[in-house]
Symmetry: C2
Amino acid sequence: MAKVDTSLVAHLPLFAGMTPEALDEILREARSARYPRNSAIFEQGADAQCFFLLLHGHVRAAKTTPAGEQIVVRYVAPGETFGLAMAIGAARYPATATAVDDSVVLIWPTSAWPRLVERFPALAANTLQTVGTRLQESHTRILEMSTQQVEQRIAHALLRLAKQSGKKLDHGIEIDFPISRQDIAQMTGTTLHTVSRILSGWESQGLVESGRQRIILREPHRIVVLAERSADNGAA
Amino acid sequence: MAKVDTSLVAHLPLFAGMTPEALDEILREARSARYPRNSAIFEQGADAQCFFLLLHGHVRAAKTTPAGEQIVVRYVAPGETFGLAMAIGAARYPATATAVDDSVVLIWPTSAWPRLVERFPALAANTLQTVGTRLQESHTRILEMSTQQVEQRIAHALLRLAKQSGKKLDHGIEIDFPISRQDIAQMTGTTLHTVSRILSGWESQGLVESGRQRIILREPHRIVVLAERSADNGAA
DNA sequence: CAACCAGTTTGCGTTAGCGCAAAACAGGGT
DNA sequence: ACCCTGTTTTGCGCTAACGCAAACTGGTTG
């Protein structure tokens, strides 16, 4: 089994407050794997045999309705865990995970979780922290969907992506993984048509520069203004 | 300090897998309090000095935007915990909690949490389970808001309330705490006007019976049909 | 018992955003 | 270099739901 360098992951929230020996012991139970761009990591409904830690790349977690409509639950950035079905006592994955870029992950068998938690209680505490934060973010998203209109939601979504996975450019920030209009629509609860129209509008105002699965925020500050503008204080 | 009967709470998920002695020790750190109907338990943004376990009554957790709009995050039923800001490492409550009915709660000081978790690791594991479940429910809600129309969302919301806090009647199920049209609107991301219109419609079809802060589902099965109907297979 | 008040109902005009359809576009593979 | 496929753009009509305004209801209070 390939050895994982502890120094690369020691600083992650998941391992906060752990001794190097503990970390070493935990990592010994993991294997690593590479997923090429656009490959499935696991499918919604499959039994949750493993949980994951993303080392490199980007992963999209999406949920599908019986009718086949999808929403993006979140984009996973390097250093984050995903596929934690066992944390909530679920036997099956509640969402589908896809590598949107060539990705490298650490993989633990779900069966190892109880033992690891027993031996390293900090693991449960740290995971609780993470899951709690995600719950908050979820609530914020619900709040936005309930109270803001589409343009503002898209602005927020892009700013969040920029913060989480933005690559600083000379002038602007680029979302550094492939993302389509459709994906943004599924993050914000709208349609790809509406997203396209809005981004076109922004592009003609010089706020963004975008193309095939590529988005650069040229004027982040002005986008923040859009995001925070309430329903009535529209354009002058 | 009033003594709490362990047998009343021993079966709760929060205390799963704990010895009676452990439970006793945990309960010794708690005090109990009573909140009359419509009284505030804590406010969004206040520092999170305590966390709570609801024994009797019902509590509404709501989040407010800077602009003053509200959404209902969830209704807390007896046996559930709330105000777990410390679980996610937040210093302040992310939402406001209000007793919607005369309620009795157990209260622990947030400061006791680290010690309790260290002494009883199962506490963290159980809480993780709970928070994880709530995260899933959140995602389901986002999915619904993205893909379903208002009538279906309201149907789902009422069915959920009925399941969580429904009182079985001879014919039908009554939501057994006061809930207004406005509240339902804030749960489903719509306006009280729209909720009122839809409930009026249902009432004239005999699906529900409702009045001032009171709702009885008379035909739960037919409401399930409404909830599951996809966008296109409308009325015959 | 009357006045009040919070919650509810309903009508009506408006509109943000959807849905369909079709065209333009951009890569990647052979 | 060319085709093929997946993505993006844009036009146009439509409608679900909003927003405002006004009337109504039933429980509570002085």
